[in-house]
Amino acid sequence: MDPKTIICRCSDITLEEVRQAISDGYTTFDEIKRVLRTGMGSCQGRTCMPLILREISVMTGIPQEDLNPGRKRPPVNAVSLGAIAEGEDHDYES
């Protein structure tokens, strides 16, 4: 893959930047998220997570199934503050 390939479309992060973060010692999805904002955008990591986990696995030698996919944070789909304030139906359990 081209190093300039965009891995995270929400935050505009390239493969090159992800590789740099991993070689800087940020070897978990949660750490990379905090350094590069990958997974913090509206897709909540649905696109970038598998790609980033694969890069971590390649660079650290840890099998992908042993890597922690990171902590999921609600809500799964964005909701407006107005809708929440008016107490609209929600499918979210605390």
């Binding site: 978990t28 905090r34 904002r37 509206s42 909540q44 944070r73 964005a78 909701v79 107005g82 929600h90």
Partner: protein, 382 residues
């Protein structure tokens, strides 16, 4: 595996990182920081990362001012390649009643005397700074333009990178499981990655500080309480300043990438270490903020999370040594404002540990003040 260290710092949040950096800068060698997950994985990474100098006691004003002045130059001082993203958009504190307004006036007089250029604002003046503000239910405001916000991960990483350059070792994904004591002296620290021989330990374990203290037989007068926070999708700049109310127990600000971050305290929050997010918070927060800043009705909530406030009886930290165990130091109980105190925590704790006089008198923050009934009275806490 057995290691040797001159000091072991437990906790890789802003406090542990800043203490490690300052000790190394003062020439201490063999400093090891032990962090059970990753850097800033505790309260530091969960926090609102707002910083203000508008405090109500002389000591806190001085601590906050020292920290703010450090933040202003931190990228350079720490030689950080990234950016700690310090934005000084000011803090607008809203007074809900005459009593709070009087308190703000007293605070402002104190702050001005200490070189902090805060000022009292009428509600009309407040609206000039935040045009969308609905002033209903408020009587006036206080404002300081140098208060602001940072990126908590990058700020902590900046301390970590600078400390590493000075030789500090950070052990990530390593949990402290016990501290061995002989009489009143520390002999070593047990971790999931081996034993560390040491005679000194700093407890900077945030929401788990009570557990660490128990490892040397100390009961701290502290509880950890969940505090929740959320962020919206990025929007164009519409809020230049932090808006906050002590009485309403909330804060709200827009961060540089465009997201609007807001949090709110609630008396019903669990104190059992639970940091899962709840729907109740989302609803209360949405109601509070859409009343206060109505255009935010359209903002889309993208993520919510929570962290622990490590709370003492007077909501002020405990900083310093303990009588019972030689070489055991506390930097705990920050009660929801430990991020903004971080740089000063690092400087002051390193002075205490090195046996130097402290740049600011913080002797009143000792552990024994609660038994003696010498609590610190700080009116301005959320």
């Amino acid at each position: 595996m057995t290691m040797k260290a001159d000091i072991v710092i437990i906790g890789g949040g802003i406090s542990g990182a800043a203490i490690a950096y300052n000790l190394a800068k003062k020439g201490m060698k063999n400093i090891v920081v032990v962090e059970k997950r990753f850097i800033a994985s505790g309260a530091t990474g969960a926090c609102g990362a707002g910083i203000r100098q508008q405090w109500g006691t002389e000591m806190n004003c001085k601590i906050a001012k020292m920290s703010c002045e450090f933040f202003e130059n931190a990228n350079e001082i720490l030689g950080y390649e990234g950016d700690i993203e310090f934005k000084q958009g000011g803090y607008l504190l809203l007074a809900s009643n005459e009593k709070e307004e009087e308190q703000f006036k007293r605070n402002i007089a104190l702050q001005n005397r200490l070189g902090i250029a805060s000022k009292a604002l009428s509600l009309e003046e407040a609206k000039e700074i935040v045009p969308m503000l609905n002033t209903e239910g408020f009587v006036s405001a206080a404002y300081h333009h140098k208060d602001g916000h940072l990126n908590p991960f990058h700020t902590t990483l900046a301390f970590v990178k600078a400390a590493e350059k000075l030789g500090v070792t950070f052990m990530k994904y390593t949990e402290v499981t016990g501290i061995d004591v002989n009489g009143d002296e520390i002999i070593g620290v047990q971790t999931t990655k081996g034993y560390i021989e040491t005679s000194r330990v700093v407890n900077a374990a945030g929401g788990q500080s009570q557990d660490i203290a128990r490892m040397v037989g100390l009961e701290l007068p502290i509880y950890s309480e969940r505090h929740q926070i959320l962020v919206t999708e990025p929007v164009d700049p519409i809020l230049s300043t932090m808006v906050m109310s002590f009485t309403g127990n909330f804060y709200c600000q827009q961060v540089p990438h465009g997201g609007i971050v807001m949090g709110r305290g609630d008396a019903g929050e669990p104190r059992d270490g639970n940091i899962n997010s709840g729907w109740h918070f989302l609803e209360e927060m949405a109601r509070t903020i859409t009343k206060l800043l109505p255009p935010l009705k359209k903002a889309m909530v993208i993520r919510q999370w929570a962290g622990l406030y490590n709370i003492t009886p007077d909501r002020q930290p405990i900083l310093g040594p303990v009588k019972e165990i030689k070489g055991f130091y506390l930097a705990v109980g920050f009660s929801g404002h430990g991020f903004m105190f971080g740089p000063a925590t690092g400087i002051l704790m390193s002075e205490i540990i090195m046996g130097e006089p402290t740049s600011i008198d913080i002797s009143s923050l000792n552990l024994y003040r609660f038994d003696r009934g010498e609590m610190v009275f700080e009116p301005s806490v959320v």
